[in-house]
Symmetry: D2
Subunit: 240 residues, 4 copies
C-alpha cells in the first residue's frame, strides 16, 4: 500500500516539503464517478483509465476532489509560501507566521552564518530576464556572484540586528518585525484537493514562474505522482 509514502520529503528553496498525510487514489476518483452503480472497485483496469481521461477532458472535476493531500513546508521563504495562500479555493493552510517564529529566534546569534537556517540565502544569483520584467534569465548567472552574496548577507545581518535593537528598546514585536527582510523562512501546513494541487502545479511549473516556486511545484508533483498517476496525467493534459 502507498500509505508508506506519508513522511516522504523533498528539499526545496533550501528548506523542504513533506507529504504529511493523504487520502485516496486513482480508484477514489473512479469510485466517486461511478457512485450510482453501487459497486466499489478495488483494482484499476483499462476502462478506469479511460474514464479518468474522459472526466478530465470534459471538466467533470468533482471526482478529483475526493483525493486530498497535506503538505508541511519548513524553511521555505515567505515569498514561496505566499503563492500557496493564493490557491486556497479547495485548500486550507495553517501558517507559522513571523510573529510566532520570532519567539524562537532568541537563540540565534548575530553572525550571519547562523542565520542560514532562518533566512533564504541563494547559492547562485540569476540575471534579470531581458524582456520579461517579472522573471530571471534561465541558466544565466551574474558575473560577480560573490559580491552579490556579500551584499545580500550584509543586508540580512543589518535587518536582523536592527530588529533585535528595537526589541531591546522595548518595541513590540509586531512593529519591530516590519524591518525584517522578506527572505525570512516560514513553516506552513497546506491541505489541498487533487484538483487544486494539480492546478497549482500547472500554473507554477512553467517558464514565467519564479525558479524557487517552480522547484516547489515540481517537488509536490513528485511526491503525489505515485498516489494517483493517471489522474495527474489526465488533469495536466486537459487544459493544454
Amino acid at each position: 500500500m502507498t500509505k508508506e509514502l506519508i513522511g516522504t520529503a523533498i528539499e526545496v528553496d533550501d528548506g523542504k516539503v513533506t507529504l504529511s498525510d493523504f487520502m485516496g487514489s486513482d480508484l477514489s476518483v473512479v469510485n466517486a464517478a461511478r457512485v450510482s452503480f453501487g459497486k466499489r472497485k478495488t483494482e484499476m483496469d483499462e476502462k478506469d483509465v479511460k474514464l479518468i481521461k474522459y472526466l478530465a477532458a470534459h471538466k467533470h472535476m468533482s471526482p478529483f476532489r475526493h483525493v486530498v493531500f497535506t503538505f508541511t513546508l519548513e524553511g521555505v521563504s515567505e515569498v514561496v509560501c505566499r503563492q500557496l495562500y493564493k490557491h486556497q479555493v479547495g485548500c486550507a493552510y495553517t501558517s507559522g507566521e513571523f510573529k510566532e517564529a520570532a519567539t524562537t529566534w532568541n537563540e540565534v546569534s548575530g553572525r550571519y552564518v547562523e542565520f542560514d537556517p532562518e533566512f533564504h540565502i541563494p547559492s547562485e544569483f540569476r540575471k534579470q530576464h531581458k524582456s520579461n520584467k517579472q522573471a530571471s534569465q534561465e541558466g544565466e548567472l551574474v558575473e560577480s556572484n560573490d559580491e552579490a552574496r556579500a551584499i545580500y548577507m550584509n543586508a540580512i545581518e543589518h535587518g536582523f540586528s536592527s530588529y533585535k535593537k528595537l526589541l531591546e528598546l522595548g518595541v513590540c514585536k509586531e512593529q519591530a518585525r516590519m524591518i525584517m527582510p522578506i527572505s525570512f523562512k516560514n513553516a506552513l501546513v497546506w491541505t489541498a484537493s487533487l484538483e487544486a494541487t494539480v492546478h497549482f502545479i500547472k500554473l507554477r511549473d512553467h517558464e514565467g514562474a519564479q525558479l524557487e516556486i517552480r522547484n516547489l511545484a515540481r517537488a509536490i508533483k513528485k511526491l503525489i505522482d505515485p498516489i494517483c498517476p493517471h489522474s495527474i496525467e489526465a488533469l495536466l493534459n486537459s487544459e493544454k
Copy 2:
C-alpha cells in the same frame, strides 16, 4: 490505529452512510497549529486538548481543515442529498444523479413492493407541526398511518409507471424524469473538512431540521467521533 474505521456504515433514511475514507486526527489539528515550532507530536496530552479548545473558542479555524472525511451515501432520498450540496464550501461531492440512475431501473418491475429500494418509503407518517410551518410535530404520528401509506405508495407507483410510458413513446429521459416523485433515492460521495462537517452537524442536528436530515447528521457525528473526539467537542461547543 483508527484506519480500520474505514468502511463503517450506519443506516439512515432507509439507506445508509459509509465512512469511505479519511485522513488526520486530533493530532493533525495540534501539529498544524504548532507548525512553526518544528516538532510533530505523536501522542496527545492535556496541553494539546487545551490548545484545541483555545483554537475553537477563538475561531482559529484553519487547523481544523487538515482533517478530511469522505462519506458515501446510498439509498438516500434526493431531499436529504440536497442539504449536502449546500455545505459545499470546503467540501466536494459527486452525485449519481437521476439521469444515470434511471438506466438501472429497467430491471425494476411495476409493482410497488419492488420500488422499495428505489424510493424513500416512510414507515411512519408524522403530524404537521402546529406553529412551525416547516417542521413536523416530534413524536406525533397521524391516526391513519395505513391510509397515508396507501396514498403515498399509489402516488409513487403512478409516477413511475407514467415515466415508463413516456420512455416507451420515445421521449428522452431528461424530459420523462420530470414527473418522477422527488422521493427517488440517490447515491452521493461527499468529501468535507472537519470544519465543514461539524458545521453541517451543528446546523442540522436540532429541532427545526427535518427528521431524516437530523438522523443523517447524527449518523455522521457517530462515524467521525472516534477519529477526533476533542476537536468535535470543542467545535460543537464553540458557537453555542
Copy 3:
C-alpha cells in the same frame, strides 16, 4: 451607464431569469490587474483589451472575480436550479425551496391547467438520443406529442392531488412533498463572480447538456454581455 440593465429579464424553461444586480465592468478587471500602478482608468482602450486577453490566456483569474452578478430565477424547474448549486465555488445562492413554496399552493385548484405556473410543462417532447444515454436528439420530436403531454399532465395532477390528500390526513409537509413530481418550479437568487458565471456558461452551453439548462446558460450570457463583453469573450476563448 449600464446600471439600467438591472431588471432585464429573459424567459427560460417557461420561467424567467432576471439580472437583479451587478457590479463592475471590463474596466474593473483592468483596474484590478493594474492596482499597483495607482491609477484607475475610466475609459477602455486597445491596450486594456489586450491586457484582458493576456490575463485570460495565462489564467490570471483573480481580476475576473471583482465583477459580480446577481440573478433571480423564477418559475424554473428544480432540475435546472440544481445545476447552479454545483457552481457554488465563488458563488452564493438562496433557494426558495419546495417546503416554503408549498405554503402558497393552497390557492391552486386541482385542475391541471392551473398547475401550469407551478410545474414545468414541456411544449414539445424530444426524442431520446441514439447513442448518448444522457441526452436528447437535437431537433427530433416524438411522433405522438399529444399523447406524451396527456401522460405528463396526468402524472403531475395525480402527484399533486395525492400530496393534498396526505396534507388533509394531517401528514407533515416535509413527508408529504416526497411524492411531488420533480418538475415543480422553484425560485432562486444566484450571485456569482464573472469567473464563475462564465465557467457555468462554458460547461452548460454545449451539445451534451440538457436543453433547458443550455437555454439558461445562453440567457445568462445574453444578460451579462453588454456589461463586460471583452472579458466574456476572452474567458470563453481561453480554455478551448
Copy 4:
C-alpha cells in the same frame, strides 16, 4: 441612493482603503430570503429588520452573500494585506505585488524621507505586551521613540539601498527583493461578500489583533455601515 458612497476613502496604516464598488443593501438580503414569495420589496419595514435578525441568529447565511463589496487598499503594508488573503473564502483579491511595484521605484531617490510613501513608517512605537507574546500593550509607548525611529529608518534605508546595489550587479528582481524589509507598502483590490467582510471585522476588531489591522477592520466597517446597517449589526451580534 447610496451609490454615491463609491469612492469614499479612509486613511489607515499611513495608507488608505477606498470603497471602490458595491452591490446590494439590507433589502437584497430580505429579497433573497423571500425569493419564493415572488415579490421584491423596495422599502424596509420592521418585519424586514426582524427577518434579518432571525437569519443571522439561526446562521442562515446565504442571503448575506448577495451583498458584495470591492475595496482598494493603497499604501498598506504587506503585513496588513496578508490578513486579507486569509479571508479568501467567498472573497477574491488582486494584489499588486512587490515584483511589479518594484518597477516604479526607479524614480525613488536614496534618501529615506523619500521612502516615506513606499514603506510603512510608524509614528509611534508601542511597547511589547507583558503576557501576550503576539500583542502590544495598548496605549503604552516606548520611552525612546526617537531612537526607535532612527533604528527603523536606518534599517529600511539599508535594505532598500542593498536592493538597488543587487539590481546594479544585474541580479534579477525576484532574488534581489528577498532582502527588502517586510514593511514595503502594497496595493490590493479585495472583493468580498457581506458575510465574509463581517467575519473579517469580527475576527480582527478585538484586543488581540495587531493595531494596524484593527484599524483597517474599523475603517472597513465604517465604509459599509451606511449600505446595510441592519445586516451588519445582526451579523456582529450573532456569534458573540
